[in-house]
Protein backbone atom coordinates (compact mmCIF):
# COMPACT_ATOMS: atom_id res chain seq x y z
CA UNK A 1 0.00 0.00 0.00
CA UNK A 2 2.72 2.43 0.95
CA UNK A 3 4.53 2.12 -2.36
CA UNK A 4 1.56 3.49 -4.30
CA UNK A 5 2.27 7.01 -5.52
CA UNK A 6 -1.24 7.40 -6.91
CA UNK A 7 -4.20 5.62 -5.41
CA UNK A 8 -7.68 6.64 -6.47
CA UNK A 9 -11.08 5.20 -5.68
CA UNK A 10 -14.12 6.12 -7.76
CA UNK A 11 -13.07 9.69 -8.43
CA UNK A 12 -15.91 11.44 -10.17
CA UNK A 13 -16.35 14.85 -11.71
CA UNK A 14 -19.57 16.39 -12.92
CA UNK A 15 -19.92 19.75 -14.60
CA UNK A 16 -23.59 20.48 -14.09
CA UNK A 17 -25.48 17.66 -15.77
CA UNK A 18 -22.42 16.54 -17.73
CA UNK A 19 -20.32 13.75 -16.27
CA UNK A 20 -16.71 14.31 -17.30
CA UNK A 21 -15.25 11.48 -15.26
CA UNK A 22 -17.59 8.77 -14.04
CA UNK A 23 -15.27 6.48 -12.11
CA UNK A 24 -11.53 6.85 -11.99
CA UNK A 25 -10.07 3.99 -10.01
CA UNK A 26 -6.41 3.26 -10.51
CA UNK A 27 -3.12 2.88 -8.75
CA UNK A 28 0.37 3.79 -9.81
CA UNK A 29 3.33 2.24 -8.04
CA UNK A 30 6.50 4.00 -7.04
CA UNK A 31 9.06 4.10 -9.81
CA UNK A 32 6.85 2.98 -12.66
CA UNK A 33 6.02 4.76 -15.90
CA UNK A 34 2.26 4.70 -16.23
CA UNK A 35 0.52 5.45 -19.50
CA UNK A 36 -2.92 7.01 -19.49
CA UNK A 37 -4.71 6.38 -22.76
CA UNK A 38 -8.08 7.19 -24.16
CA UNK A 39 -9.82 8.88 -27.07
CA UNK A 40 -10.50 12.62 -27.10
CA UNK A 41 -13.16 13.55 -24.59
CA UNK A 42 -12.58 10.43 -22.51
CA UNK A 43 -11.91 12.51 -19.41
CA UNK A 44 -8.11 12.27 -19.36
CA UNK A 45 -7.46 15.96 -18.83
CA UNK A 46 -10.16 16.26 -16.17
CA UNK A 47 -8.68 13.23 -14.41
CA UNK A 48 -5.21 14.78 -14.33
CA UNK A 49 -6.68 18.08 -13.17
CA UNK A 50 -8.40 16.33 -10.29
CA UNK A 51 -5.22 14.55 -9.27
CA UNK A 52 -3.35 17.86 -9.29
CA UNK A 53 -6.16 19.66 -7.42
CA UNK A 54 -6.74 22.07 -10.27
CA UNK A 55 -10.29 20.79 -10.20
CA UNK A 56 -12.20 19.48 -7.23
CA UNK A 57 -13.70 16.00 -7.56
CA UNK A 58 -17.46 15.72 -7.10
CA UNK A 59 -17.04 12.41 -5.31
CA UNK A 60 -14.52 9.70 -4.55
CA UNK A 61 -11.20 9.71 -2.77
CA UNK A 62 -7.58 9.61 -3.72
CA UNK A 63 -4.08 9.94 -2.36
CA UNK A 64 -0.87 11.10 -3.99
CA UNK A 65 2.34 9.91 -2.34
CA UNK A 66 0.17 8.66 0.49
CA UNK A 67 -1.32 12.08 1.23
CA UNK A 68 -4.77 13.46 0.41
CA UNK A 69 -5.24 15.45 -2.80
CA UNK A 70 -4.03 19.04 -2.55
CA UNK A 71 -1.62 18.32 0.31
CA UNK A 72 1.23 20.82 0.07
CA UNK A 73 3.92 18.47 1.39
CA UNK A 74 2.99 15.99 -1.35
CA UNK A 75 3.00 18.73 -3.99
CA UNK A 76 6.58 19.57 -3.07
CA UNK A 77 7.52 16.14 -4.45
CA UNK A 78 5.37 16.32 -7.57
CA UNK A 79 6.31 17.72 -10.95
CA UNK A 80 3.79 18.73 -13.61
CA UNK A 81 4.10 19.58 -17.27
CA UNK A 82 0.70 20.99 -18.27
CA UNK A 83 -0.78 20.14 -21.62
CA UNK A 84 -0.96 23.77 -22.69
CA UNK A 85 2.53 24.66 -21.41
CA UNK A 86 1.82 28.37 -21.55
CA UNK A 87 4.27 30.21 -19.35
CA UNK A 88 5.19 33.83 -18.66
CA UNK A 89 6.66 34.61 -22.05
CA UNK A 90 8.44 37.76 -20.88
CA UNK A 91 10.72 35.72 -18.62
CA UNK A 92 14.09 34.42 -19.74
CA UNK A 93 14.53 30.65 -19.66
CA UNK A 94 16.80 30.76 -16.61
CA UNK A 95 14.55 33.26 -14.82
CA UNK A 96 11.59 31.02 -15.53
CA UNK A 97 13.26 28.00 -13.96
CA UNK A 98 14.43 30.12 -11.03
CA UNK A 99 10.90 31.37 -10.44
CA UNK A 100 9.47 27.87 -10.39
CA UNK A 101 12.33 26.71 -8.18
CA UNK A 102 11.45 29.47 -5.73
CA UNK A 103 7.83 28.37 -5.79
CA UNK A 104 9.02 24.85 -4.92
CA UNK A 105 10.74 26.44 -1.93
CA UNK A 106 14.25 25.70 -3.18
CA UNK A 107 16.96 27.97 -1.80
CA UNK A 108 19.37 29.94 -3.96
CA UNK A 109 22.11 27.28 -3.86
CA UNK A 110 19.73 24.49 -4.84
CA UNK A 111 18.38 26.57 -7.72
CA UNK A 112 21.86 27.56 -8.80
CA UNK A 113 22.73 23.88 -9.18
CA UNK A 114 19.45 22.66 -10.65
CA UNK A 115 18.79 25.33 -13.28
CA UNK A 116 21.92 24.81 -15.44
CA UNK A 117 21.70 21.04 -15.01
CA UNK A 118 18.10 20.94 -16.27
CA UNK A 119 18.73 23.39 -19.10
CA UNK A 120 21.43 21.00 -20.25
CA UNK A 121 19.19 17.96 -19.79
CA UNK A 122 16.57 19.35 -22.17
CA UNK A 123 19.19 20.71 -24.56
CA UNK A 124 18.54 24.39 -23.95
CA UNK A 125 21.80 25.34 -22.22
CA UNK A 126 22.56 27.86 -24.98
CA UNK A 127 19.17 29.52 -24.55
CA UNK A 128 19.36 30.39 -20.86
CA UNK A 129 19.19 34.12 -21.60
CA UNK A 130 16.49 33.87 -24.29
CA UNK A 131 13.01 35.06 -23.44
CA UNK A 132 10.33 32.39 -23.57
CA UNK A 133 8.39 34.58 -25.99
CA UNK A 134 11.03 33.79 -28.60
CA UNK A 135 10.84 30.02 -28.01
CA UNK A 136 9.31 27.61 -30.48
CA UNK A 137 6.55 25.27 -29.38
CA UNK A 138 9.00 22.42 -28.96
CA UNK A 139 11.42 24.53 -26.94
CA UNK A 140 8.58 25.65 -24.67
CA UNK A 141 7.66 22.06 -24.11
CA UNK A 142 11.22 21.16 -23.22
CA UNK A 143 11.62 24.09 -20.82
CA UNK A 144 8.27 23.05 -19.33
CA UNK A 145 9.65 19.57 -18.81
CA UNK A 146 12.73 21.03 -17.11
CA UNK A 147 10.36 23.00 -14.86
CA UNK A 148 8.57 19.78 -13.89
CA UNK A 149 11.83 18.17 -12.78
CA UNK A 150 13.24 21.06 -10.73
CA UNK A 151 12.37 19.62 -7.36
CA UNK A 152 13.66 16.11 -8.08
CA UNK A 153 10.10 14.83 -7.81
CA UNK A 154 8.98 11.38 -6.76
CA UNK A 155 6.06 11.62 -9.19
CA UNK A 156 5.87 13.53 -12.47
CA UNK A 157 2.73 14.23 -14.46
CA UNK A 158 3.43 14.73 -18.14
CA UNK A 159 0.39 15.80 -20.11
CA UNK A 160 1.11 15.27 -23.81
CA UNK A 161 4.83 15.94 -23.36
CA UNK A 162 5.73 15.33 -26.98
CA UNK A 163 2.80 16.80 -28.88
CA UNK A 164 4.77 19.81 -30.13
CA UNK A 165 8.03 18.05 -30.76
CA UNK A 166 9.75 16.86 -33.91
CA UNK A 167 11.09 13.28 -33.98
CA UNK A 168 14.41 14.34 -32.46
CA UNK A 169 12.70 16.20 -29.65
CA UNK A 170 10.48 13.20 -29.02
CA UNK A 171 13.53 11.02 -28.77
CA UNK A 172 15.06 13.42 -26.22
CA UNK A 173 11.90 13.32 -24.10
CA UNK A 174 11.71 9.54 -24.35
CA UNK A 175 15.29 9.24 -23.16
CA UNK A 176 14.54 11.60 -20.29
CA UNK A 177 11.56 9.47 -19.25
CA UNK A 178 13.67 6.34 -19.36
CA UNK A 179 16.29 8.11 -17.26
CA UNK A 180 13.65 9.20 -14.74
CA UNK A 181 12.50 5.65 -14.33
CA UNK A 182 16.04 4.49 -13.76
CA UNK A 183 16.33 7.09 -11.03
CA UNK A 184 13.22 5.69 -9.36
CA UNK A 185 10.74 8.43 -10.26
CA UNK A 186 7.19 7.51 -11.11
CA UNK A 187 5.86 9.05 -14.31
CA UNK A 188 2.20 9.52 -15.15
CA UNK A 189 2.17 9.93 -18.89
CA UNK A 190 -0.78 11.13 -20.90
CA UNK A 191 0.06 10.83 -24.57
CA UNK A 192 -1.57 10.32 -27.92
CA UNK A 193 1.61 8.88 -29.38
CA UNK A 194 0.95 5.23 -28.73
CA UNK A 195 4.28 4.10 -30.12
CA UNK A 196 5.88 6.34 -27.54
CA UNK A 197 3.85 4.92 -24.72
CA UNK A 198 4.70 1.46 -25.95
CA UNK A 199 8.39 2.22 -25.75
CA UNK A 200 8.41 3.92 -22.37
CA UNK A 201 5.57 2.67 -20.19
CA UNK A 202 5.46 -0.20 -17.73
CA UNK A 203 1.71 -0.22 -17.42
CA UNK A 204 -1.15 1.49 -19.16
CA UNK A 205 -4.73 2.32 -18.29
CA UNK A 206 -7.36 2.63 -21.00
CA UNK A 207 -10.04 5.14 -20.28
CA UNK A 208 -13.24 5.90 -22.12
CA UNK A 209 -16.39 7.74 -21.15
CA UNK A 210 -14.76 8.75 -17.90
CA UNK A 211 -14.14 5.19 -16.79
CA UNK A 212 -11.01 3.07 -16.56
CA UNK A 213 -11.75 0.14 -18.84
CA UNK A 214 -8.62 -1.84 -18.27
CA UNK A 215 -5.21 -1.54 -16.67
CA UNK A 216 -2.50 -3.83 -17.85
CA UNK A 217 1.21 -4.27 -17.88
CA UNK A 218 2.77 -3.86 -21.29
CA UNK A 219 5.09 -6.80 -20.80
CA UNK A 220 2.13 -8.93 -19.86
CA UNK A 221 0.18 -8.28 -22.96
CA UNK A 222 3.16 -8.35 -25.22
CA UNK A 223 3.50 -11.95 -24.14
CA UNK A 224 -0.14 -12.78 -24.15
CA UNK A 225 -1.19 -10.93 -27.20
CA UNK A 226 0.29 -12.58 -30.24
CA UNK A 227 -1.83 -12.68 -33.32
CA UNK A 228 -1.31 -15.62 -35.62
CA UNK A 229 -2.55 -15.82 -39.17
CA UNK A 230 -3.02 -19.31 -40.59
CA UNK A 231 -3.80 -19.72 -44.28
CA UNK A 232 -4.79 -23.15 -45.60
CA UNK A 233 -6.31 -24.35 -48.85
CA UNK A 234 -9.79 -25.16 -47.60
CA UNK A 235 -10.66 -24.04 -44.07
CA UNK A 236 -13.24 -26.34 -42.53
CA UNK A 237 -15.28 -26.03 -39.34
CA UNK A 238 -13.16 -28.86 -37.91
CA UNK A 239 -10.04 -26.80 -38.55
CA UNK A 240 -11.46 -23.86 -36.61
CA UNK A 241 -12.46 -26.08 -33.70
CA UNK A 242 -9.07 -27.75 -33.74
CA UNK A 243 -7.17 -24.47 -33.74
CA UNK A 244 -9.04 -23.39 -30.62
CA UNK A 245 -6.81 -25.70 -28.57
CA UNK A 246 -3.81 -23.51 -29.43
CA UNK A 247 -5.29 -20.08 -28.83
CA UNK A 248 -8.27 -17.83 -28.34
CA UNK A 249 -10.47 -15.74 -30.60
CA UNK A 250 -10.26 -18.08 -33.55
CA UNK A 251 -11.93 -16.37 -36.50
CA UNK A 252 -12.19 -17.01 -40.19
CA UNK A 253 -11.44 -13.98 -42.34
CA UNK A 254 -14.06 -13.58 -45.00
CA UNK A 255 -12.71 -14.08 -48.49
CA UNK A 256 -9.26 -15.56 -48.75
CA UNK A 257 -9.45 -18.35 -46.21
CA UNK A 258 -7.16 -16.83 -43.61
CA UNK A 259 -7.80 -17.82 -40.02
CA UNK A 260 -6.74 -15.49 -37.21
CA UNK A 261 -6.22 -16.47 -33.62
CA UNK A 262 -4.60 -15.02 -30.53
CA UNK A 263 -1.90 -17.09 -28.88
CA UNK A 264 -0.01 -16.54 -25.66
CA UNK A 265 2.92 -18.86 -26.20
CA UNK A 266 5.17 -18.66 -29.21
CA UNK A 267 6.60 -22.08 -28.39
CA UNK A 268 3.30 -23.61 -29.46
CA UNK A 269 3.70 -22.53 -33.09
CA UNK A 270 5.52 -25.65 -34.35
CA UNK A 271 2.90 -27.84 -32.70
CA UNK A 272 0.17 -25.87 -34.41
CA UNK A 273 1.87 -26.24 -37.80
CA UNK A 274 2.28 -29.93 -37.21
CA UNK A 275 -1.35 -30.37 -36.27
CA UNK A 276 -2.62 -28.49 -39.32
CA UNK A 277 -0.54 -30.56 -41.70
CA UNK A 278 -1.33 -33.80 -39.91
CA UNK A 279 -5.03 -33.13 -40.32
CA UNK A 280 -4.64 -32.98 -44.06
CA UNK A 281 -4.61 -29.26 -44.72
CA UNK A 282 -2.25 -27.54 -47.11
CA UNK A 283 -0.50 -24.88 -45.06
CA UNK A 284 0.33 -21.80 -47.16
CA UNK A 285 1.02 -19.29 -44.45
CA UNK A 286 1.68 -19.17 -40.73
CA UNK A 287 2.48 -15.65 -39.53
CA UNK A 288 2.85 -14.64 -35.91
CA UNK A 289 2.56 -10.88 -35.22
CA UNK A 290 2.70 -9.06 -31.94
CA UNK A 291 -0.30 -6.88 -31.33
CA UNK A 292 0.74 -3.24 -31.27
CA UNK A 293 -0.49 -0.98 -28.55
CA UNK A 294 -2.52 0.76 -31.20
CA UNK A 295 -4.33 -2.47 -32.08
CA UNK A 296 -4.87 -3.07 -28.44
CA UNK A 297 -6.10 0.48 -27.94
CA UNK A 298 -8.60 0.12 -30.76
CA UNK A 299 -9.66 -3.24 -29.40
CA UNK A 300 -10.31 -1.98 -25.89
CA UNK A 301 -11.41 1.56 -26.54
CA UNK A 302 -12.39 1.76 -30.15
CA UNK A 303 -15.58 -0.24 -30.36
CA UNK A 304 -18.02 2.43 -29.32
CA UNK A 305 -15.87 5.48 -29.56
CA UNK A 306 -17.92 6.95 -32.37
CA UNK A 307 -20.67 7.80 -29.89
Amino acid sequence: MSDLVIDTHSLRKEFGPKVAVADLTLDVRAGEVFGFLGPNGAGKTTSIKMLLSLTKPTAGRATLLGRPLGDLAARAKIGYLPEHFRFHEWLRADEFLNLHGELYGMDRAARGAAVPRLLKLVGLEDRAATKLGAFSKGMLQRIGLAQALLNDPALVFLDEPTSGLDPIGRRVVRDIITDLRQRGMAVFLNSHFLSEVEKTCDRVAFIRGGRVLQTSSLKEFEEEAMQVVVRVGQPTPELLTGLAQFGRNVALEPGDGRVRLTMSDEAQLPALAHWVVQNGHNLYELTPTHLSLEDRFLQVVGEESDE
Binding site: T55, Y80, L99, E102, Q147
Partner: protein
Protein backbone atom coordinates in the same frame (compact mmCIF):
# COMPACT_ATOMS: atom_id res chain seq x y z
CA UNK B 1 4.10 33.10 3.10
CA UNK B 2 7.23 33.38 0.98
CA UNK B 3 5.08 32.69 -2.07
CA UNK B 4 3.21 35.98 -1.59
CA UNK B 5 6.43 37.93 -1.99
CA UNK B 6 7.58 35.79 -4.93
CA UNK B 7 4.33 36.48 -6.76
CA UNK B 8 4.36 40.17 -5.80
CA UNK B 9 7.88 40.53 -7.19
CA UNK B 10 6.85 38.63 -10.31
CA UNK B 11 3.92 41.02 -10.78
CA UNK B 12 6.16 44.07 -10.58
CA UNK B 13 8.73 42.49 -12.87
CA UNK B 14 5.98 41.74 -15.40
CA UNK B 15 4.89 45.39 -15.35
CA UNK B 16 8.49 46.37 -15.94
CA UNK B 17 9.14 43.81 -18.71
CA UNK B 18 5.97 44.62 -20.54
CA UNK B 19 6.98 48.30 -20.52
CA UNK B 20 3.88 49.15 -18.51
CA UNK B 21 6.03 50.83 -15.90
CA UNK B 22 7.90 52.99 -18.39
CA UNK B 23 4.81 54.01 -20.34
CA UNK B 24 3.02 54.94 -17.12
CA UNK B 25 6.05 56.89 -15.92
CA UNK B 26 6.48 58.70 -19.22
CA UNK B 27 2.81 59.57 -19.52
CA UNK B 28 2.75 60.65 -15.88
CA UNK B 29 5.60 63.05 -16.56
CA UNK B 30 3.79 64.33 -19.65
CA UNK B 31 0.73 64.92 -17.49
CA UNK B 32 2.81 66.87 -14.96
CA UNK B 33 4.39 68.90 -17.75
CA UNK B 34 1.02 69.94 -19.14
CA UNK B 35 -0.22 70.77 -15.66
CA UNK B 36 2.94 72.77 -14.92
CA UNK B 37 2.67 74.85 -18.09
CA UNK B 38 -1.02 75.51 -17.55
CA UNK B 39 -0.47 76.39 -13.92
CA UNK B 40 2.34 78.80 -14.82
CA UNK B 41 0.31 80.76 -17.35
CA UNK B 42 -2.90 80.90 -15.36
CA UNK B 43 -0.92 82.07 -12.36
CA UNK B 44 0.77 84.71 -14.54
CA UNK B 45 -2.61 86.00 -15.66
CA UNK B 46 -4.07 86.04 -12.16
CA UNK B 47 -1.06 87.87 -10.75
CA UNK B 48 -1.62 90.63 -13.28
CA UNK B 49 -5.31 91.01 -12.51
CA UNK B 50 -5.67 90.25 -8.81
CA UNK B 51 -3.69 91.78 -6.03
CA UNK B 52 -5.27 90.32 -2.91
CA UNK B 53 -2.98 87.57 -1.53
CA UNK B 54 -5.88 85.39 -0.36
CA UNK B 55 -7.42 85.27 -3.81
CA UNK B 56 -4.14 84.30 -5.44
CA UNK B 57 -3.73 81.47 -2.95
CA UNK B 58 -7.26 80.42 -3.68
CA UNK B 59 -6.46 80.04 -7.36
CA UNK B 60 -3.53 77.79 -6.48
CA UNK B 61 -5.81 75.73 -4.29
CA UNK B 62 -8.41 75.43 -7.01
CA UNK B 63 -5.92 74.39 -9.67
CA UNK B 64 -4.16 71.93 -7.40
CA UNK B 65 -7.51 70.37 -6.49
CA UNK B 66 -8.35 70.12 -10.19
CA UNK B 67 -4.99 68.42 -10.75
CA UNK B 68 -5.63 66.01 -7.89
CA UNK B 69 -9.07 65.25 -9.33
CA UNK B 70 -7.43 64.23 -12.59
CA UNK B 71 -4.83 62.19 -10.71
CA UNK B 72 -7.58 60.41 -8.79
CA UNK B 73 -9.32 59.49 -12.02
CA UNK B 74 -6.08 58.40 -13.70
CA UNK B 75 -4.96 56.29 -10.76
CA UNK B 76 -8.30 54.51 -10.59
CA UNK B 77 -8.32 53.79 -14.30
CA UNK B 78 -4.70 52.59 -14.21
CA UNK B 79 -5.52 50.37 -11.22
CA UNK B 80 -8.22 48.64 -13.27
CA UNK B 81 -6.27 48.45 -16.50
CA UNK B 82 -3.14 46.90 -15.03
CA UNK B 83 -4.95 44.30 -12.97
CA UNK B 84 -8.06 43.42 -14.95
CA UNK B 85 -6.42 40.70 -17.03
CA UNK B 86 -4.01 39.27 -14.48
CA UNK B 87 -6.06 36.40 -13.06
CA UNK B 88 -8.64 35.83 -15.77
CA UNK B 89 -5.97 36.07 -18.47
CA UNK B 90 -3.69 33.57 -16.80
CA UNK B 91 -6.61 31.26 -16.12
CA UNK B 92 -7.74 31.44 -19.74
CA UNK B 93 -4.24 30.84 -21.09
CA UNK B 94 -3.52 28.16 -18.44
CA UNK B 95 -0.34 29.97 -17.43
CA UNK B 96 -1.67 29.69 -13.90
CA UNK B 97 -1.71 25.86 -14.00
CA UNK B 98 2.02 25.44 -13.47
CA UNK B 99 1.94 28.03 -10.66
CA UNK B 100 -0.93 26.78 -8.51
CA UNK B 101 0.27 23.17 -8.64
CA UNK B 102 3.38 24.19 -6.74
CA UNK B 103 3.48 23.58 -2.98
CA UNK B 104 1.81 26.90 -2.18
CA UNK B 105 -1.76 27.65 -1.11
CA UNK B 106 -3.73 29.24 -3.91
CA UNK B 107 -4.80 32.27 -1.90
CA UNK B 108 -1.17 33.34 -1.69
CA UNK B 109 -1.08 33.72 -5.47
CA UNK B 110 -3.98 36.19 -5.34
CA UNK B 111 -2.52 37.97 -2.31
CA UNK B 112 0.86 38.29 -4.03
CA UNK B 113 -0.70 39.77 -7.15
CA UNK B 114 -2.77 42.18 -5.09
CA UNK B 115 0.30 43.27 -3.16
CA UNK B 116 2.38 43.77 -6.30
CA UNK B 117 -0.28 45.84 -8.04
CA UNK B 118 -1.03 47.78 -4.85
CA UNK B 119 2.64 48.74 -4.70
CA UNK B 120 2.61 49.86 -8.33
CA UNK B 121 -0.62 51.85 -8.03
CA UNK B 122 0.47 53.56 -4.81
CA UNK B 123 3.86 54.44 -6.28
CA UNK B 124 2.10 55.91 -9.30
CA UNK B 125 -0.23 57.92 -7.09
CA UNK B 126 2.71 59.15 -5.01
CA UNK B 127 4.60 60.18 -8.14
CA UNK B 128 1.71 62.18 -9.59
CA UNK B 129 0.63 63.81 -6.33
CA UNK B 130 4.23 64.59 -5.43
CA UNK B 131 4.80 66.10 -8.86
CA UNK B 132 1.69 68.29 -8.62
CA UNK B 133 2.60 69.54 -5.17
CA UNK B 134 6.14 70.26 -6.20
CA UNK B 135 5.06 72.25 -9.28
CA UNK B 136 2.56 74.30 -7.30
CA UNK B 137 5.04 74.89 -4.49
CA UNK B 138 7.90 75.90 -6.76
CA UNK B 139 5.76 78.28 -8.77
CA UNK B 140 3.69 79.82 -6.01
CA UNK B 141 5.01 78.72 -2.65
CA UNK B 142 1.58 77.28 -1.84
CA UNK B 143 1.36 74.17 0.33
CA UNK B 144 -1.98 72.53 0.90
CA UNK B 145 -2.96 71.73 4.47
CA UNK B 146 -4.08 68.20 5.23
CA UNK B 147 -2.91 66.90 1.88
CA UNK B 148 -1.61 63.72 3.52
CA UNK B 149 -5.05 62.78 4.80
CA UNK B 150 -6.65 63.61 1.50
CA UNK B 151 -4.15 61.54 -0.46
CA UNK B 152 -4.72 58.68 1.96
CA UNK B 153 -8.38 58.75 0.91
CA UNK B 154 -7.33 58.72 -2.76
CA UNK B 155 -5.03 55.78 -2.08
CA UNK B 156 -7.84 53.89 -0.39
CA UNK B 157 -10.10 54.56 -3.38
CA UNK B 158 -7.45 53.26 -5.81
CA UNK B 159 -6.91 50.12 -3.72
CA UNK B 160 -10.65 49.61 -3.58
CA UNK B 161 -10.94 49.70 -7.37
CA UNK B 162 -7.92 47.39 -7.64
CA UNK B 163 -9.52 44.92 -5.24
CA UNK B 164 -12.78 44.91 -7.21
CA UNK B 165 -10.85 44.16 -10.39
CA UNK B 166 -8.80 41.36 -8.78
CA UNK B 167 -11.85 39.84 -7.13
CA UNK B 168 -13.78 39.94 -10.40
CA UNK B 169 -10.86 38.27 -12.16
CA UNK B 170 -11.16 35.19 -9.98
CA UNK B 171 -14.47 34.30 -11.64
CA UNK B 172 -15.16 36.51 -14.65
CA UNK B 173 -13.57 36.63 -18.06
CA UNK B 174 -11.24 39.55 -18.67
CA UNK B 175 -13.75 41.49 -20.71
CA UNK B 176 -16.66 40.90 -18.33
CA UNK B 177 -14.48 41.87 -15.41
CA UNK B 178 -13.39 45.08 -17.13
CA UNK B 179 -16.98 46.04 -17.87
CA UNK B 180 -18.09 45.24 -14.32
CA UNK B 181 -15.30 47.20 -12.66
CA UNK B 182 -15.71 50.27 -14.87
CA UNK B 183 -19.48 50.20 -14.49
CA UNK B 184 -19.16 50.05 -10.71
CA UNK B 185 -16.77 52.96 -10.90
CA UNK B 186 -19.20 54.84 -13.15
CA UNK B 187 -22.13 54.02 -10.89
CA UNK B 188 -20.30 55.47 -7.90
CA UNK B 189 -19.42 58.56 -9.93
CA UNK B 190 -22.99 59.08 -11.08
CA UNK B 191 -24.34 58.38 -7.60
CA UNK B 192 -21.95 60.92 -6.17
CA UNK B 193 -23.13 63.51 -8.67
CA UNK B 194 -26.79 62.80 -7.93
CA UNK B 195 -26.10 63.10 -4.22
CA UNK B 196 -24.41 66.50 -4.71
CA UNK B 197 -27.30 67.81 -6.76
CA UNK B 198 -29.76 66.31 -4.28
CA UNK B 199 -28.04 68.08 -1.41
CA UNK B 200 -28.06 71.30 -3.38
CA UNK B 201 -31.78 71.28 -4.11
CA UNK B 202 -32.64 69.47 -0.86
CA UNK B 203 -34.08 66.42 -2.61
CA UNK B 204 -34.01 63.53 -0.16
CA UNK B 205 -34.62 60.87 -2.80
CA UNK B 206 -31.62 62.00 -4.82
CA UNK B 207 -29.45 62.05 -1.71
CA UNK B 208 -30.56 58.52 -0.87
CA UNK B 209 -29.73 57.32 -4.36
CA UNK B 210 -26.27 58.77 -3.82
CA UNK B 211 -25.88 57.07 -0.46
CA UNK B 212 -26.96 53.70 -1.80
CA UNK B 213 -24.58 53.98 -4.73
CA UNK B 214 -21.72 54.84 -2.41
CA UNK B 215 -22.55 51.75 -0.36
CA UNK B 216 -22.36 49.65 -3.52
CA UNK B 217 -19.03 51.25 -4.43
CA UNK B 218 -17.51 53.76 -1.99
CA UNK B 219 -14.70 55.01 -4.28
CA UNK B 220 -16.37 58.31 -5.14
CA UNK B 221 -17.23 59.04 -1.50
CA UNK B 222 -13.57 58.64 -0.68
CA UNK B 223 -12.69 61.27 -3.27
CA UNK B 224 -15.27 63.60 -1.70
CA UNK B 225 -13.77 62.95 1.69
CA UNK B 226 -10.39 63.83 0.19
CA UNK B 227 -11.67 67.17 -1.18
CA UNK B 228 -13.00 68.02 2.27
CA UNK B 229 -9.42 67.68 3.53
CA UNK B 230 -8.12 69.70 0.60
CA UNK B 231 -10.51 72.62 1.24
CA UNK B 232 -9.26 75.08 3.80
CA UNK B 233 -11.56 75.12 6.80
CA UNK B 234 -12.19 78.84 6.40
CA UNK B 235 -13.88 78.53 3.04
CA UNK B 236 -17.31 79.70 3.94
CA UNK B 237 -18.95 78.84 0.67
CA UNK B 238 -17.91 75.45 -0.69
CA UNK B 239 -19.30 76.36 -4.12
CA UNK B 240 -16.30 78.55 -4.65
CA UNK B 241 -14.36 75.37 -5.38
CA UNK B 242 -16.66 74.77 -8.30
CA UNK B 243 -17.07 71.22 -9.54
CA UNK B 244 -14.51 69.88 -7.05
CA UNK B 245 -16.38 71.05 -3.99
CA UNK B 246 -17.69 68.56 -1.50
CA UNK B 247 -21.14 69.82 -0.68
CA UNK B 248 -21.95 66.84 1.47
CA UNK B 249 -19.15 65.54 3.58
CA UNK B 250 -19.00 61.75 3.81
CA UNK B 251 -18.81 60.70 7.43
CA UNK B 252 -15.87 58.89 9.00
CA UNK B 253 -18.17 55.92 9.12
CA UNK B 254 -18.10 55.88 5.32
CA UNK B 255 -14.30 55.65 5.42
CA UNK B 256 -14.49 52.79 7.90
CA UNK B 257 -17.09 51.17 5.64
CA UNK B 258 -14.70 51.48 2.68
CA UNK B 259 -11.91 49.80 4.64
CA UNK B 260 -14.18 46.94 5.68
CA UNK B 261 -15.52 46.73 2.11
CA UNK B 262 -11.96 46.36 0.81
CA UNK B 263 -10.95 43.72 3.36
CA UNK B 264 -14.10 41.64 2.88
CA UNK B 265 -13.80 41.82 -0.89
CA UNK B 266 -10.15 40.80 -0.74
CA UNK B 267 -11.00 37.88 1.55
CA UNK B 268 -13.77 36.85 -0.87
CA UNK B 269 -11.31 37.03 -3.77
CA UNK B 270 -8.82 34.76 -1.97
CA UNK B 271 -11.57 32.30 -1.12
CA UNK B 272 -13.17 32.39 -4.54
CA UNK B 273 -9.90 31.66 -6.32
CA UNK B 274 -9.02 28.89 -3.87
CA UNK B 275 -12.28 27.11 -4.54
CA UNK B 276 -12.71 27.40 -8.26
CA UNK B 277 -11.96 24.78 -10.89
CA UNK B 278 -9.16 25.74 -13.22
Amino acid sequence: MAAILIIARLTIREAQRRRLLWVALFMGLAFLLVFGIAFHYIRLDIERQVTAGDDITFVSLLLLTAGLYAVNLLTNVVAVLVSVTTLSGEIESHTIDAIVTKPIPRWQVVMGKWLGFAGLVLAYLALLVGGLMLIVYLRSGFLMDNIGRGVAMMALAALLVLTVSIAGGTRLSTIANGVMTFMLFGLAFMGGLVEQVGALIRNTAAVNVGIVSSLIMPADSLWKKATVYFQPSDVSNPFELGPFAAITEPSSLMVAYAVVYLLVLLALALRSFSRRDL
